[in-house]
């Protein structure tokens, strides 16, 4: 399978954080995990204040979400990840696969899926991208960088409502 060797993949087990996350991931198989990790690297926002090193958190969040999907969707997701992995060979004939690509190359490749004429390919990438963006942009460190603090606002609005209800009760003791 020498023709499929592109950029060497990083050794997952060498990095203790990755090893820990891989152990913690209970719903994705090792193959799915590595494909998804490559997809996250290609899809995740970069620049403009979005360089937080949270890919593993994103992966863990997606892993927690998988069991909530209906069985047919889980099967489709499993299958879709493999199509995504072997897509370069299948659709473009390039002797590589997603997990062997560098970040920029993966981004260009995935962007091609987004512009694909096939609705199925677009839909698959839309699904993966939604999962990645949901986990990425809702990460506390990203929200902090965006100066969005919904959590603090929750405390403020609960207190404000309690005060308002108190005032109304005192104004109308019935």
């Amino acid at each position: 399978m020498a023709v499929l060797q592109g950029i060497p993949q990083q050794n997952d087990t060498a990095n203790p954080v990755r090893r820990f996350v891989a152990q913690a991931l209970r719903n994705l198989s090792p193959t799915s995990t590595s494909i998804l990790r490559a997809a996250i690297a290609g899809l995740r926002p970069r620049g403009h204040g979005f360089d937080q090193p949270i890919d593993e958190d994103v992966l863990a969040e997606i892993d927690r979400t998988i069991p909530c999907f209906p069985p047919l969707f889980r099967l489709g997701f499993w299958l879709g990840l493999r199509v995504l992995e072997w897509g370069p060979l299948v659709f473009t004939g390039r002797p590589t696969r997603l997990t062997r690509m560098g970040c920029d190359q993966a981004t260009r490749y995935l962007d091609g899926w987004l512009r694909s004429r096939s609705a199925l390919r677009r839909m698959l990438l839309f699904g993966v991208r939604t999962l990645v963006y949901l986990a990425f942009y809702q990460h506390p460190s990203v929200l902090h960088a965006m100066e969005v603090d919904w959590d603090r606002r929750m405390g403020e609005t609960i207190r404000l409502r309690a005060d308002t209800l108190d005032r109304e009760t005192h104004a109308d003791p019935r």
Binding site: P45, C68, A119, Y137, W150, M154, L160, R161, E168
Partner: protein
Amino acid sequence: MPIPADLRERIPEYAIDYPNVESGRDARREAMLVADAIVVGSGAGGAVAAALLAEAGLEVLMIEEGSLEKTDSFSTDVPEMIRRLYRDAGATMILGRPGMIFAEGRCVGGSTVINGGMYWRAPDRILERWEREERLPAIGPGAMEPFFTEVERKAHPETNLPDTFGRHGVLFAEGAGKLGWNATPNLRNMRRCTGLNNCAFGCPTGAKQSMLVTYIPRALRAGARLLADARVSRIRFDNARAVGVRGCFVGANRRPTYGFSAYAPMVIVAAGARHTVGILKRSGLCGRWLGRNLTTHPNAKVVGIFDARLDAWRGAHQVYQIHDFLEQGILIGYAMIQPGLLAATLPGPIQANAELMSLYNHFLPVGCLIEDTGTGRVLLGPDGEPHMIYCLNRKDCATLHEGVAKTTELLFAAGARRVLLPFADLPEATSPDDVGRIRSRPPSPNGMELMTVHIMGSARMGVDARRGATDAFGRVFGVDGLYVADASLFPGPIGVNPQETIMALVARNTRRWIETDAQRLHRWRRGPLGAGHA
């Protein structure tokens, strides 16, 4: 974020007691239950039916697939709340041209826990049409008035106070004003909303008066029992009579565990326009109208980008709507969407997403919803689950284009610098002159990005079995003791948010069932199961 103890005591919704609730997660063996009435689903339809039946003295068993998630457990952790409150983690698709994302709740309270709480009566012209053209009795505006009033008393619709509007709400109204349109203050079922704008992920302030804090506690206080984390798979029949349901408990990982059976002379299915059909079809029912006539209120999102910072996440959800174009089938409203959800729907290549999202605090997302004229279907898939198929017709496509054009006009009038559009081939408008390009785009569904949260009509009412799946009061044709109580009943789309209409319609029907079906209940109570139960 943990809620401080002093606040916990001052918010009445935190103190609501939920007696008679059991979770399927605690089940350790198969179970058999008996009641006078079984209500499948606890959303806008199921909760109202359960409360009214329980108050009429019936022993009611509510069965809900989702979990009981109490108000004080809600948070702003969006991925976590989606997993807990949404069916399929929000990943439901309506297949067709174009594919549409559909989101619905799966928790005690159903979609009322995750909606914006918009609380509007069906327009008179819709009710008149149902009465005149569909020949449905007692459903005109006059006949429905007492039922609307009844559900409004409990759900408490009110408008937001100005200090909760947020800058974006003011801008939206200003934009409408410049075009000579009326920004109608939005009625929402809430009590003193303070504008957290977390409605779609459960209201942690307790302001939203969803079924979770209104009709469900009312039903439980009246003696109803609630079985959460229990999925009904099919109806049990005795000849042409519904006598109960069969299903399974759901474990902590959402996987089925033990089976259960429940028996009652009244079985009310209120699982939403998709799963009500799924349950009935899995049970072997195959009426002509069952699963047909699906309408969806397709919804297109348009995002205005302003020079000034709006911080649209500070301020209430959809304080205003534009009702000026309801006659044309167009409803315009705005809602700030959490970054993680908004990002995935933005147009443009992957590389451009970060740049766009860096402007998040300058965004004002506005949506236009249309009263669709086309219909789709709910079919059972090879996995035994109901799947929806819906293709946008040419007329609806044109209406959506007009809605997007009007929304874009509004955003430019409000001062937007750029507007992101829901078309792959026309992703952005940079000046008001571009509105013409939207109107001249061929009305093709290809490349349109749509979503919906309103599905209805899949088990529609009709005067006979040739015109509907149920009669004019929700009784399923051909089966004694089987009723439908959700938006499936609507003969067509209503063009506004459907929650109040579902509740009022179910209140109307339930009162009729109590009046007319008491004889069957009387016979049941004298029978072997009923006697033991009583």
